[in-house]
Subunit: 211 residues, 4 copies
Amino acid sequence: MSDTKAPDASRRSERSRRAIFDAALALVSETGYARTTIEGIAARAGVGKQTIYRWWPSKAAVLLDAFLDLAARANEAAGLDAPGGEGAGEIPNTGDLAADLKYVLRATVDEMNDPAFDLPTRALAAEGIVDPELGARFTEALLEPQLQYYARRIEAAQAAGDVDPDADPRIALELLVGPLHHRWAHRTLPLTHGYADALVDQVLRGLAPRP
Amino acid sequence: MSDTKAPDASRRSERSRRAIFDAALALVSETGYARTTIEGIAARAGVGKQTIYRWWPSKAAVLLDAFLDLAARANEAAGLDAPGGEGAGEIPNTGDLAADLKYVLRATVDEMNDPAFDLPTRALAAEGIVDPELGARFTEALLEPQLQYYARRIEAAQAAGDVDPDADPRIALELLVGPLHHRWAHRTLPLTHGYADALVDQVLRGLAPRP
Amino acid sequence: MSDTKAPDASRRSERSRRAIFDAALALVSETGYARTTIEGIAARAGVGKQTIYRWWPSKAAVLLDAFLDLAARANEAAGLDAPGGEGAGEIPNTGDLAADLKYVLRATVDEMNDPAFDLPTRALAAEGIVDPELGARFTEALLEPQLQYYARRIEAAQAAGDVDPDADPRIALELLVGPLHHRWAHRTLPLTHGYADALVDQVLRGLAPRP
Amino acid sequence: MSDTKAPDASRRSERSRRAIFDAALALVSETGYARTTIEGIAARAGVGKQTIYRWWPSKAAVLLDAFLDLAARANEAAGLDAPGGEGAGEIPNTGDLAADLKYVLRATVDEMNDPAFDLPTRALAAEGIVDPELGARFTEALLEPQLQYYARRIEAAQAAGDVDPDADPRIALELLVGPLHHRWAHRTLPLTHGYADALVDQVLRGLAPRP
DNA sequence: TCATAAACGAGACGGTACGTCGAGTCTTCGG
DNA sequence: CCGAAGACTCGACGTACCGTCTCGTTTATGA
């Protein structure tokens, strides 16, 4: 007499799962997150509503998983094509910290300016701001791993003597991504490569090893 | 030539307007933004739904105005009780830039940890991330004026020789509020006074006048 | 301390009254009674809503008065152009009862087939069926006077020896208008001159003086 | 090729259908038709509004079906308890036409004086007068079958030599029900058994076989 | 002959119900 | 025996009018 509610994941239809992800991402980018409905996703995916409710608790959760899946596939496809790169997403280490950070921040700026990434990301970020549960999953699965790349690169720079060994890598990394995020979230000023460069330069001034 | 449907603002009921603000803020802090409905606000305010729809286009717009009104009244009540302070909200200038910034950032951290401010702010920020129109109003009316206080204090510090005259005050200010916002928005790590202090110290290292 | 609500009828705006009647009749014939609203009448008449509510208790009452006014003006314009006619609306008395009744019933059939009369009459009749108050006014002001014309003509026929003196004129008259009304109200079969004639013939057979 | 929105009637909830009928009839007789709302019916029936809108186009249509259902059940329960009667609703044929008609017309008068039948019938009749669509359904489903009973009884009387074989049964039947209906609809004079009797006598005079 | 009180146009107000949409649950039926 | 299909209850949406209530603005005496 076990839990009558737990669905048997092993019997899950992979075909339906993919169709739901595809439908969700398509609808969000076509009509916006707010106008995307679970009924709509089900209809578009050719799936019963219950098949969605069985596996996800909310629209946001569906979209988060869809996004994660998208990111995973993108990473897979990415491979080793970054300069000096090892793992996918890892920040390159050419020995020139400023150049490496500028490269990554410029790429981030480009993503933020690309509606294909921008719109669903905004939807998820907005939901995560309000819903701690979902925000935690978002942070954990997408944001934090990315921040660790920065941490590792900065620690490498400390080991190489390019950064003050007393500096806190966590604070350093937040000085890089925080301002970018702020402009993106509040649309105060345009996000440009120039801004990314200036940001890196200013932050690195504060991280320089003390004489 | 203009909108033929515009209601006559001069005949507007101030009593209803206030009741709507109060109800909206109360409901959001009691039950959360998502569960707050226009019907609920109207009922709580003892007001017809149409009276809300007549003056606001959306739930978010109501809440934004309610928040603005709240902030305005708070500012009015604030007056001159900040150390070295002149205008309400202005960052104090005691001559010690680090101390002044830490004072303000600690206050900001406290607000972010106070559910009374936190919940409606999250709701508005989330809506603003997704709805550019509303986000613009939010930024313009609430965020940007606050950022200008930072800009002025930093410029004063430049004039006093405490900050590199070549530094860009806008970038400097974003280095202060961006990371704070980032932690708040994504709940990556706790927001503490210690974090505020460390942030100010790290940023000011990068702003120090060159020898 | 008399009734504080009674408006001063002597100061009433005749212009508004006419405009309201015109607007009401126009709207009912254009869009139907159900879709006609007091707000609509007021707007069309260029009149404040309160001017309607001041003088009438309901939409149906407005329409009834509008209809009465229309009928009064029609009667006024009618004059003496009926064969053998005296008063307006009076049933002619040419000495041939059957012919006189057929003449009047054919005219009634024509009115019932004319949408300009049909639609507002249906609206009023329907309202009167459900609302006894209004129904009484309708019957008293419009229907009963008309029925009296029949009563008088039948009594004249009795005096002339064309109708059994023992027959009840009220029952006789209802035998004439009742079936007509029935077909009109329920749209069972078409209303034609032939039907009017057949009806008169059949009824008069039952009214013939006994040998 | 047909309507793409048509719901699947085979999956319809019989329980909801019954609850809606019961609620509709109860509300109409308790508070009157005008004050009966679809929301009210749904609430009383413990049913979602959509379940009403899914299956009926209007309040009047709901009530008509409820009424039809009521009549059908009443007929079913009626059986053979009328004098000389065969089918339910059929007019008895005792050989005495006048008596049979008086029996039925008196029963009709009684129904018209019984608020339980009167109120919903007035509501439906009123709606049918104004809405041809609904009126047609009303006439077809309720009125016309009843009129056919009269037609059949009169034809039987013609066959028996009690009625002029040249008389039109349709006109004859309308002479009986039309006046009754007229008094009922316009409330001109009270509906009594005496009136029913007088009506039958007067009409039969006109239908007597010619010598 | 003007002041003054009313009726007037306009329309905002608190409400009620509308008809629609989607959420999340429950039932049926076909592959 | 899953899962698509979709009917169900529920509740909020945004709209339309209701009937009431101010607002100024005519208007038409009666002091």
